[in-house]
């Protein structure tokens, strides 16, 4: 139960509008004049901001934040292009190392972008659609609205938050102080209402239209995440027609029609741009792909991970992607998987002969398949290239070279 709750806690701010509810006429995605620097107006809002400020102080110093200036600059530039420089000034972006699809924005202007989101989008336009949607919640001050409606509404929701948060403790469940830290890093539990999602999407499409990004990228992102969830379920031998376990669908049961609705909506954005920014996205992500993929592999989600890798590879097959796929199959370790893994490692090496780790994977896959000779040879090649690998002593022993 804990991970589901944690997923809800860590996530939950991204969601889709209901499939119905849309009766826009063409070209009605207005972007209001931006109010500029904003200060909290009343005690409710000041309270939210002060909580947020404290959270942000902890987040700022957290080791889980990825600080690489180039990557941060890239994400910031996408947000700024999407929502415009003026709006962008209100935001501090923190890239958090969590291999889950999510981004969130809190009332004081703290934006959390998970590394799992960066791994799952293929272009600037796709990233912009998610960041823009989040920013729209911020601009519309939905967190405050939600807080007020929750406070004046039934106490049940409030208790759900308290109990949910209490259940999200570390490991054996004996730490409360760590929960505060966890909330600071991952963001607060926040579910938006359906009409809030609708407004956020209207404004989100407004940003997309004004920025020149291809609006239909939005629908592609949502659809891909739903497909990933389906693949996860399929691989685990169960049905999936709800997406409420996925971080950003946490507040809404949903279905595939939603992505289609978004798609249709995107077509109605007049004077839509077609800027994709695929190359720039790939270049910005390249130095981090190995780490993001390794984090993803440790999720033990064969179906979902394989889907992510293939979706990325459909656009551009790279050696790191083939290598990751090899690792994924080797990790599952059925005899047929080991054969597939061997194949992927070979393909990776064909694309990039300098990819030393592929020799390691190849060797280990062969060894586990019982092909001792080939395995030992591949591992020897690896050890020649990476003599001080973390597991070099163990590998030497395994192939009898110690």
């Amino acid at each position: 139960m804990k991970p589901a709750l944690l997923a809800a806690a860590m996530a939950a701010t991204l969601a889709l509008p209901p499939a119905t509810a849309w009766a826009q006429t063409d070209g009605e995605f207005p972007v209001p004049t931006y109010e500029g620097a904003y200060q909290p107006q009343d005690s409710d809002e000041r309270g939210l901001w002060s909580q947020d400020d404290e959270s942000e102080r902890q987040l700022r110093d957290a080791d889980a934040v990825i600080r690489d200036p180039a990557l941060n600059e890239y994400v910031r530039s996408v947000l700024c292009r999407a929502v415009g420089d003026k709006r962008c000034e209100a935001v501090r972006i923190y890239i958090v190392r969590v291999p889950i699809f999510n981004a969130s924005m809190s009332p004081n202007g703290t934006m959390r972008v998970y590394s799992g989101l960066l791994l799952r989008v293929r272009s600037e336009a796709e990233l912009a659609s998610v960041l823009g949607h989040e920013f729209a919640h911020f601009e519309l001050r939905h967190t405050l609205e939600r807080y007020r409606s929750r406070r004046t509404g039934s106490d049940i929701a409030a208790w759900a938050t308290v109990l949910g948060a209490a259940a999200v403790t570390w490991g054996g469940g004996s730490s409360y102080s760590s929960r505060d830290m966890q909330v600071s890093i991952y963001g607060n539990i926040m579910h938006f209402e359906r009409n809030q999602e609708r407004f956020a999407d209207t404004l989100g499409f407004g940003y997309m239209a004004a920025s020149g990004y291809r609006p239909s990228a939005a629908a592609e992102v949502w659809r891909a995440v739903m497909n990933e969830t389906d693949q996860t379920a399929l691989d685990r031998g169960r049905r999936s027609n709800r997406y409420d376990n996925v971080a950003f669908f946490a507040s809404h049961p949903t279905n595939l029609e939603r992505a289609d609705t978004l798609s249709a909506l995107a077509n109605r954005v007049v004077a839509a741009g077609d800027y994709e920014g695929r190359q720039r996205h790939e270049t910005a992500l390249a130095p981090h792909m190995a780490m993001f993929l390794a984090d993803e592999l440790a999720r033990n989600d064969f179906g979902g991970t394989d889907f992510i890798i293939q979706r990325l590879a459909n656009e551009n097959v790279t050696a790191p992607l083939l290598f990751a796929r090899g690792e994924l199959y080797r990790q599952r370790g059925h005899p047929r998987d080991l054969a597939s893994a061997t194949n992927f490692y070979h393909q990776a090496l064909a694309l990039d002969p300098s990819l030393g780790d592929a020799w390691r994977g190849l060797g280990l896959a062969q060894l586990r398949s019982g092909n001792t000779m080939e395995g030992a040879n591949a591992l020897r090649t690896f050890l020649e290239r990476v003599p001080d690998a973390p597991d070099a002593p163990m590998l030497r022993m395994m192939i009898g070279d110690q």
Binding site: M1, K2, P3, A4, L5, L6, A7, A8, Q58, A62, D63, A64, V96, R97, V98, A160, L163, G164, A166, A167, W170, G171, G172, G173, S174, S175, S177, S178, M181, Q182, I185, Y186, R236, R238, N245, D295, A298, R299, N300, Q331, G333, L364, L367, R368, P390, D391, P393, M394, L395, M397, M398, Q402
Partner: protein, 195 residues
Amino acid sequence: MNWPTLSVIALALTLTPQTASAHRLMPAGEAAQVARSDMTVTPTIQWNKISQRPGERAERWTLDGELLNDVVFFGGVEDGAPLLREVNRRENPLPHFSSTMLPTDIAPLLESTLRITQNISSFDVSNVAPATFLDAAGVQFEYRMLGADDITRQGRAVASIIGGKLYMITYDAPAEYFYPRNLLDVERIVASARL
């Protein structure tokens, strides 16, 4: 969150308050059978055994609490079984041990298990080397992980696959102060392990 989930949480909070789990003192100098297996260890200082077993074939010892020093014994994890108790089998199942695993597969197995059960954010393995554990050829490695509480923990593990079952002892503690403080005590436990 739906109502059944909520009520289970409420029930869990009511029935198992944090203070209710009684721990047992493991006296120094006495051989103790661990993890409901034939593995015995003889500590040289007093340890606390956490009464709630973290897994079917696992047992947890600590000095100051599991967040500060965490020793886990794995006593014969069988083929197809997870290392620790499932936290959410449906949505986030744990990886399973396989008796065909190579010594180098143990660290990724532990990584994936800890990432899912403790939501750790990073896990870096180093010094993977051959080791003799329980009179069998095994593997030892060190790891450094960043917890969801944003504390960096240092860890060490030693493992052997004996008769298709995994025997392992892991120790991790905050890298600052706690890990080095009791490393020697844990090394003595490991050295005393018998099957």
